[in-house]
Symmetry: C2
């Protein structure tokens, strides 16, 4: 397993010797030592956190091998000078690698190459100064446990002495980034209620939303700290059963859309007529909480001096309002939290007293974090350009809700959520149900609201309309002022990669420091992989964005990193996510696809969409699909393919689906990270943990893997806002983007395109008697072939 | 989901009013109140941990429904007297149940019946005294989150005030059991090295073993506390890759055993020639640790005033010796830890200084906990009768290693570990590899030892021998002096139910308080189910065993609880695990089983034993098995079936396998608990968590479920110590027990017996040309049919 460490670079504000002194790895006296071996012994004493006595430290030394035959205690007593190679042999063991199994003591070089760990080799005696530099880098090197030695020592309590330092001296920096100097046992948990400018429950009063804050005690003692704000509609609970009950029936036919069709509009919310009167102020909150589900990245940052702030927003437990599922009001309510953190908005200590409270502990600089809906709202708030929002880390976020529940005029489900829609998600996240009396009082109005949403979202046609336009952040992406780190899974079929692509393209046109990490997972978090130093990258990056330490993280970190789909644990900086398109003709024939299945088949496929999926991938007799091999132009595909197809339907309705397939027998990467060590990641000292996990190769080889796909309604031939009054047997030319790809095609694999109608995993499945005729001679696929030169 | 609460019984040392006062739910003034509504308001204020101000408490009250139309704040202002029904309506909400979804406000009675929650109903005005009693019981009632309201409030910080009480006043009891009065942020983590009387590395010195202790600071302040000791060979790390490499090949033939056959003996360990000299003593340990993998039950108990003590034992990181996999030396080393806790043995602060340290913080009473190997060693140590070991909770423990890796003369794998044996487990758990220099120094000797173990365990024949006799705890079960709580899964095919059955039968002949809980899982922990109050039962039970609070837990808790295999979440006290056997004839025919498969089939089945398993269950044409329906005599099977079969093999080797099958289409229980709420169980306040989970019904119905099985070598016709020099075509009568069952046969299901040869999941798979002829007229199955009368 390679260990990629993009944050392991010397920052311009780091001085290794000063940094080591600051963290008490060395004293002034240590710096003056002329004997490298003696200095090394002192450094090792710091590493041996749990064996403080002379006797126990000697035993501790005696467990390591200095060379293939001598233990370190014995070796140190021999007075042979320490060399880079000796240092690295021992260091590999300190990092948890086992001699004989993980690496060869006689040949550490091979291990360093395969593991990508950068540690020095060489047989010259080390100077004390070179030894200190070695040790500085060792602390920043990741071990087998997926954490740097510094973070491992932190988890063992090495930094606990720093808790007692004056708050204003914190955080102690190491290589230009905060270390864990904040006592988790002393964290403050407090609740405030931020007043928004929206009134989504239409009671006349501005909606109040509950905000849960966890922050180090030091922020009450003169240290103003940045805030990590996570906007999570799920955070106060979810109504899973209710959501299941509301799932829509997708086993229904496509219907012809007439040119004059218009779906009902959703109701507009009148602005609030009253705001709460301020009756006084308090310095400290009065309401508290004990436990809240929290993204483990936030836990990691909390121990390093950040506040973690959560709001579930309108329509959730202890807050006012409705769940609007992505509307501007939801964004405005989350924006209000940033405004409060920045000092621009009122919050109260409780819902009724009118006692206002300021975020006087906050330095006014905020980053938003979170995945999926959470990442969505981070992006949405960023598009407001709200002051104080310095950065967002948008992971697997939606950037256009139409692209989440619809596609090119079709109702289209996120993978594994067939039948879900905006109204279902609104009901699922309406945790006001946890306030039974308030839910009862709101029941009729909320049901009415959901009924109107159900009309406005329009599952009858799947056409783009005002409802979806209100939930499309694309027109506002140009107003983003925050620096943005985008994280997305190339195999994410829930929030699909085109959401990230649109954001990334918009960011290319903006000033600021923007990063993109593309991984091979589906809808997952990536802060737990031994192979990628995501936590360290974030700590480095946010040190610049939020603390404004001039560590030049923006310049040091690559702008675009992509994970290899071929080799586990390989992460590569690449230059672009959009290579120029190279068109390919698809053939000369006229082909026919019969989309109707025998009733029994359709029933099976509706119940088991994966059975359909396997049939599709292996449908060699083309009875319901057409597969064509696409010639290779280069080894990589990087960007959004465009498919053009000339076809007709035998009725005045129709849809075309296309899957782009990597074909070749191989053990591919798992799209879900596999557990390596439960609770293996210590996010601080006696603080929360996370499970160490990473992608591995599948146990069994597979033949095919879908790397991109697209669907279009024949009535929307060139995209959701195009419209065509389709007639039966009328030829149309459709042009559609497939999902963006970033994929290396193995040398012995080939690329295939599969064309078909109904997608049992995602689309309506009416099993209509539809037959499509495709004129391949007037169809083509344009692909972003490229050859990255990678290490 | 029903909530069974066996610990929810008034203990003789509880006075509800005094208990409520002790935990500060009421003051002396509260007791004198004559207005029940006012008293209720005061109690609710205690429950509203996070909303301390008048304004925020009013909002908190206003979220609950007192009746189908009025919120509690409004209702309380109306001065209608509180009744049982009003109290229970609100209480259900406090317990997390949602009106309208989880229960009907107009009919709480139905919910109470289905949920098994005991809360009072009635419309008479409550007296203050009756209200206090209600509230006392409410605190002991489990909520939707799977914890009692008291434990929920504990997790929210309600008891944090009690941390500051003098140590000697702790623990505060509630209903005769300790509450969480011990600050996790102040827990002491310390290491000592216990000197054993064994020398398994044969260096002449008594093996030292490392012991990791976590305990409340109060135990340094005059409070002597009990110790929960978990003996876990896994705890310092495992060598998974090495173990995989050592897995034995099972695709090999059965071989004929000659009467004079004897496997090589394992080497005996000479006793140590020297013990460490004591050079002084210390009151406090010098070595520490930060994190250790810990059973969450121990975490729950830690917050309630117990110490948690872990030792990995001989042959592990930082300890001396070898991994002997169940030998008497391993037991003796773990026994030594109990002796030290009881004051009868020396431990040192480190491995070399000779500074001794006593467990002066311990009250000398110890319980051992843990599952699988951990439960095994708890049982093993208990069989020594060591003073100080007051109780063990033996979960899924091995009681005879022969029954783990062998069966009636056959090499037989624990399920999913085909090819594993004692030597493999020894290598896997030899975490001395984490001390590279020590592992290198020990390498040759350890390899030699493993090679000898490999011979002595004897995979050539699978016969019982001295190696296995040394690892059979059955002859020593009668020496158990500790009270024993046995927990075992009826679907545990790893450590099979016969281990628990043997222990339980031995305990029936001993004095003391013994408990048995049989669940429907496989090899799992059960302390995380909403449906069973296992944590509370243990807390109650250990309060009697270890603190010696006379709460009469032994009398209050049922001796034998079994989980229903028909209905999710139902747990039933039953009278016995062995009903009298009723024999059934199997037929009149002579049947033939051909055990040899086509090569391709055998290859597939070797790679995919579950494919074989499905073929076996559905093998209707009897080409490699014979299936017979057994007439029903009652609705339950409770105990060990005995199978007698007259048969012959066409060669001088052979094996017979038998599966007892519940046949009938049904959605059965999952044998693995399903996640309900990740981190949903708070084991204390800002302390560790566990995932709430429970058995559910499978999503898809299944036809058959194997409820018992057995295998025997035809050369061992009546058990492992019987021997027969089998000849080809010689008729033999074998008699074998099947795994013990505790199973309710649904009315429309039937019972089947499947007879066959090779078991691809567990046995050798040599695919020999073996044909068995069975004379059904001389074969029979004796079954423990019974009719429990259950609620």
């Amino acid at each position: 397993m390679p260990y990629y460490q993009f944050a392991k670079q010397l920052t311009p504000i780091s001085d290794p010797v000063a940094d080591l002194k600051r963290l008490r790895f060395i004293t002034d006296a240590d710096v003056k030592l002329t004997d490298a071996n003696q200095l090394w012994r002192h450094l090792l004493q710091r590493v041996a956190v749990h064996t403080p006595t002379a006797a126990s430290f000697e035993t501790w030394l005696g467990q390591w091998l200095a060379n293939p035959t001598l233990d370190l205690a014995t070796w140190l007593n021999q007075a042979t000078p320490v060399t880079n190679t000796i240092f690295t042999r021992v260091s590999c063991q300190l990092l948890g690698f086992e001699p004989g199994r993980d690496f060869d003591l006689t040949d550490p070089s091979t291990f360093l190459t395969t593991s990508k760990l950068t540690l020095p080799l060489g047989d010259e005696p080390l100077t004390p100064s070179a030894l200190l530099t070695n040790f500085f880098w060792l602390l920043l090197t990741r071990g087998k446990n997926g954490q740097t030695l510094l973070d491992t020592l932190t988890g063992e309590g090495y930094l606990a002495w720093s808790y007692a330092l004056p708050a204003t001296q914190k955080p102690l920096l190491f290589n230009g980034q905060p270390t864990a100097n904040f006592d988790p046992a002393q964290f403050i948990n407090e609740v405030v209620f931020v007043e928004t400018d929206v009134d989504t429950d239409q009671d006349g009063h501005a909606d109040l939303i509950k905000v849960e804050i966890t922050r180090p005690l030091d922020s009450n003692q003169g240290l103003q700290i940045p805030a990590i704000f996570t906007a999570s509609p799920y955070n106060q609970g979810t109504n899973d059963e209710w959501g299941d009950e509301l799932m829509h029936n997708v086993d229904q036919p496509l219907t012809h859309v007439n040119p004059d069709y218009q779906a009902p509009q959703e109701p507009a919310f009148a602005p609030p007529t009253t705001h709460q009167r301020v009756n006084g102020t308090r310095e400290q909150a009065t309401e508290t909480f004990a436990n809240t589900p929290r993204y483990t990245l936030n836990d990691y940052l909390l121990a390093r001096g950040y506040a973690s702030v959560y709001a579930a927003g309108i329509g959730t437990k202890d807050s006012d309002g409705r769940q609007t599922c992505g509307s501007p009001e939801q964004t405005a309510a989350m924006q209000a939290v940033v405004e409060w953190l920045h000092g621009d908005r009122t919050a109260f200590t409780d819902r009724t007293s009118g006692i206002a409270i300021q975020a006087n502990w906050c330095n006014g600089r905020v980053a938003m974090t979170g995945r999926s809906y959470l990442g969505t709202l981070a992006t949405a708030v960023a598009t407001t350009g709200v002051p104080g929002l310095a950065a967002i880390i948008a992971e697997a976020g939606i950037t256009n809700w139409y692209d989440y529940y619809r596609e090119n005029g079709l109702v289209m489900a996120p993978d594994t959520f067939q039948g879900e829609d905006a109204d279902v998600l609104a009901a699922e996240t309406y945790s006001t149900t946890r306030n039974p009396a308030r839910a009862l009082a709101d029941h009729v109005a909320n049901e009415n609201y959901l009924a109107q949403m159900r009309q406005a979202q329009d599952r009858t046609t799947g056409q783009y309309n005002a409802f979806w336009a209100a939930r499309n952040y694309h027109p506002h992406l140009s107003q983003i002022k925050a620096d943005v780190m985008v994280v997305h899974g190339l195999n994410d079929w829930n929030v699909k990669p085109n959401h990230a692509k649109a954001l990334w393209e918009a960011l290319q046109k903006l000033p600021g420091d923007h990063k993109l990490i593309l991984h091979q997972g589906q809808h997952i978090y990536i802060n737990a992989f031994p192979s990628l130093d995501f936590n360290e990258m974030v700590n480095l990056w946010l040190a610049e964005k939020l603390w404004q330490f001039p560590n030049q993280a923006g310049q040091l970190l690559p702008d675009l990193i992509t994970q290899s789909n071929l080799t586990p644990g390989v992460w590569q900086p690449v230059s672009t996510w959009q290579a120029p398109l190279i068109p390919t003709a698809l053939g000369h024939q006229m082909i026919t696809i019969n989309d109707q299945q025998a009733d029994a088949t359709a029933t099976t496929w509706r119940h088991q969409p994966l059975t359909w999926f396997n049939s599709l991938l292996n449908d060699t007799d083309h009875h319901f699909s057409y597969r064509v091999t696409i010639p290779r132009h280069a080894s990589w595909l990087a960007g959004t393919p465009t498919l053009t197809v000339r076809l007709k339907s035998n009725h005045n309705v129709g849809m075309l689906s296309a899957y782009l397939v990597d074909h070749g027998t191989a053990k591919r990467l798992t799209t879900t990270p596999q557990l390596i060590n439960r609770h293996g990641l210590q996010l601080g000292y006696h603080w929360h943990t996370d499970d160490l996990r990473d992608f591995k190769l599948q146990n069994q080889p597979t033949e095919r893997h879908v790397i991109a796909f697209g669907h279009t309604n024949l009535q929307n031939p060139t995209g959701p806002t195009s419209f065509h009054d389709l007639q039966a047997d009328e030829w149309v030319t459709i042009t559609m983007p497939l999902q963006p790809v970033m994929h290396e095609l193995a040398a012995d694999h080939e690329l295939e395109l599969i064309l078909f109608g109904t997608d049992y995993r995602m689309s309506f499945r009416g099993n209509q008697a539809l037959t499509y005729t495709i004129d391949l001679s007037q169809s083509s696929l344009a692909l972003p072939w490229t050859d990255f030169s990678l290490q």
